[in-house]
């Protein structure tokens, strides 16, 4: 069954929250009590940390967990490593989290002895979470697949009877098909995937009985606080609600407001396209300068520190400092170093939700692109973010750097982006009369009715100016403007009239 299908939740079954940031959202509420799940992953993927993190979270709720190891890391070593993790609390051991080894029992008494031990210990410790670390040892001890499947089946029965959620940790040594996967209530895989020279840890819920879950591979990190899962924005944000508003917001630049027919439509997204240095950040900060209590602003940037951004804006007469001081504007800086795309997307949406942001400037799209593990992800990722921001009623301005510095062509670094945004403003460079000018033009505005004139975009100590500097010019968009030849134009006009006259006489 496709897990994105809506599946009604089984009645009467309690959910057990994992407490792992992001995982409960992926599982849409956590594991089910009394259910058995396999957590599969290569050595070092994070299975043991994940399981311990879940146990200690459970313990903090006053509930009990039993951690049973087979041929795994020794308890002493494991606890030494866990001591570095913030979720670890020695006070919880042994009352709320209890560790035992079952390997000798398995060796001496086989699967039956092992089952007796698990059943007895589950009851003795009143455990509502059982971890069995090293399922592979059970499998290797079993004399046949049938005996192993019987063990899993019996464990399911005991777990259900005890209301004890059971996680079986195992590595992915065998092939893809494991008969036991068809038996258990869920299968979660942890992998460490190479992407070029980077590696990204990914979690996937391959099977989850009784509930939908967020599909696909979700990146995760192992931090000092344990695992942090970053649910994939494409699976997380699937609504696209038009807020229905028709009012307009100032761009922060009065002449641009006139060009757009009164500002940007509320809840719309605007792309600011242009090469490096063309003024995208300046326009964006002018937009944010209008942040207020009624329209909280957010600068989500990758390239400039908050201090530098504010100081640079100040040189142009754009006062961001007072907006920040008043709490009307937040500046978030995420330098583009080994970032996880999903984490960035989620952080952005979280920051928007937290302060009910209405004015958002993303500076710029390249920061997301640098974090993406593949170029193909960018388009659906952008669509998911744009839809969620639109549904939240945010007015988004996003800077996108175009590849060519000067010239007639406009190379966008992402496919299909224009279809996902309501407004497009293009900034270019053009040479005219041996001087380099910045040009501003509007390519698209939601609701239409915009001024398509090419304007000179001046940035100086007087702030931002839009000027009609090119009335006598042509070919400005080629990057090399020239004076329109007035005489030839007049002659051509006369010629056309004459031609029209000849046609009318025949």
């Amino acid at each position: 069954m496709d897990k994105q299908d809506e599946v009604s939740q089984p009645t009467g079954l309690e959910r057990i929250a994992t407490g792992v940031p992001g995982l409960d959202e992926v599982l849409k509420g956590g594991f089910y009590e009394g259910a058995v799940y396999i957590v599969r992953g290569t050595p070092g993927a994070g299975k043991t940390i994940l399981a311990n993190q879940i146990c200690f979270h459970h313990a903090r709720q006053g509930k009990r967990a039993l951690f049973v190891t087979l041929l795994a890391e020794s308890h002493a070593r494991m606890l030494q490593h866990l001591e570095q993790m913030s979720f670890y609390d020695a006070q919880m051991i042994p009352k709320f989290v209890y560790y035992i080894s079952a390997f000798r029992v398995l060796e001496e008494n086989g699967l039956k002895g092992m089952m007796d031990l698990l059943r007895r210990e589950m009851r003795a410790h009143d455990a509502t979470i059982l971890i069995l670390d090293g399922l592979i040892a059970v499998e290797e001890t079993s004399t046949s697949d049938r005996e192993f499947r019987k063990f899993i089946h019996e464990l399911q029965a005991h777990a259900a009877a005890a209301g004890c959620c059971t996680l079986l940790l195992t590595n992915g040594r065998r092939g893809e098909y494991h008969p036991e996967h068809t038996m258990v209530d869920g299968l979660i895989t942890l992998e460490d995937m190479p992407y070029g020279k980077r590696r990204i840890r990914e979690l996937e819920v391959r099977k989850f009985r009784g509930s939908a879950s967020l599909r696909g591979r979700h990146p995760f990190q192992i931090t000092d606080g344990g695992l942090v899962v970053h649910p994939r924005p494409e699976s997380r944000f699937q609504r696209n609600t038009d807020n229905g508003r028709t009012d307009r917001l100032s761009t922060g630049v009065e002449p641009l407001d006139k060009m757009t027919g009164g500002g940007l439509m509320a809840g719309s997204s605007t792309l600011l396209l242009g090469p490096s240095g063309s003024g995208k950040t300046t326009l964006g900060t002018a937009f944010l300068q209008r942040s207020s209590k009624a329209e909280p602003g957010l600068h989500f940037g990758f390239y400039e520190s908050p201090e530098r951004l504010i100081a640079n804006a100040s040189l142009l007469g754009i006062d961001l400092q007072s907006r920040v001081a008043a709490g009307h504007l937040e500046v978030l800086w995420r330098p583009t170093v080994e970032r996880i795309l999903d984490s960035l997307g989620n952080e952005l949406i979280e920051a928007v939700r937290r302060r009910k942001v209405r004015r958002l400037f993303i500076d710029g799209w390249g920061g997301f692109a640098a974090a993406a593990e593949s170029h193909e992800r960018l388009s659906p990722f952008f669509a998911a973010l744009a839809n969620e921001l639109r549904s939240l009623g945010v007015n988004t301005v996003c800077a996108i750097e175009t590849e060519n510095l000067i010239g007639p062509e406009l190379h966008l670094p992402i496919d299909g982006v224009s279809a996902m945004s309501e407004n497009m403003i293009v900034l270019r460079y053009a040479e005219y009369h041996t001087r380099l000018y910045r040009l501003l033009s509007i390519m698209k505005v939601r609701g239409g009715g915009f001024d398509s004139t090419l304007r000179e975009f001046r940035i100086d100590s007087d702030g931002l100016q839009l000027a009609d500097s090119f009335q006598g010019a042509e070919s400005m968009l080629s990057g090399f403007g020239k004076e329109r030849p007035r005489k030839r134009a007049a002659k051509t006009k006369q010629g056309r009239r004459a031609g029209a006259g000849r046609r009318s006489r025949t």
């Binding site: 042994p94 029992v105 031990l117």
Partner: protein, 123 residues
Amino acid sequence: MQTVLVVDDEFGVAEVLQSILEDEGYRVVTAINGKQALARLSEFTPDLIMLDYMMPIMDGTQTLTAIRNEPAFARIPIIMMSSLEEVSVRETCTGYNTFLRKPFRAMAVVKLVEQLLAQASGK
């Protein structure tokens, strides 16, 4: 030859302790939980017991209580072992002679066993 009873559920721990102590000339008998340890005690009386705190079926605290309640074993020196700090163990468990935190070094084990056996024999 002095005999040490090592009680630990975890594979590897009892084996390592057995090797370390046998190299020092001790006889070592092992058990994987408290219940099995009590069964061993019905067969012989060790000179020292090394007891793990967390075990299935019968844990270190229960085993210690059972041993101390039996007059014949009440004076056997006991080393309680755990991956936890002693302060956590002492909250629920008293009556042992000394504590050994895991993971341990061979020299520390030998020194501790020698000291305890010397104390017990009044040397």
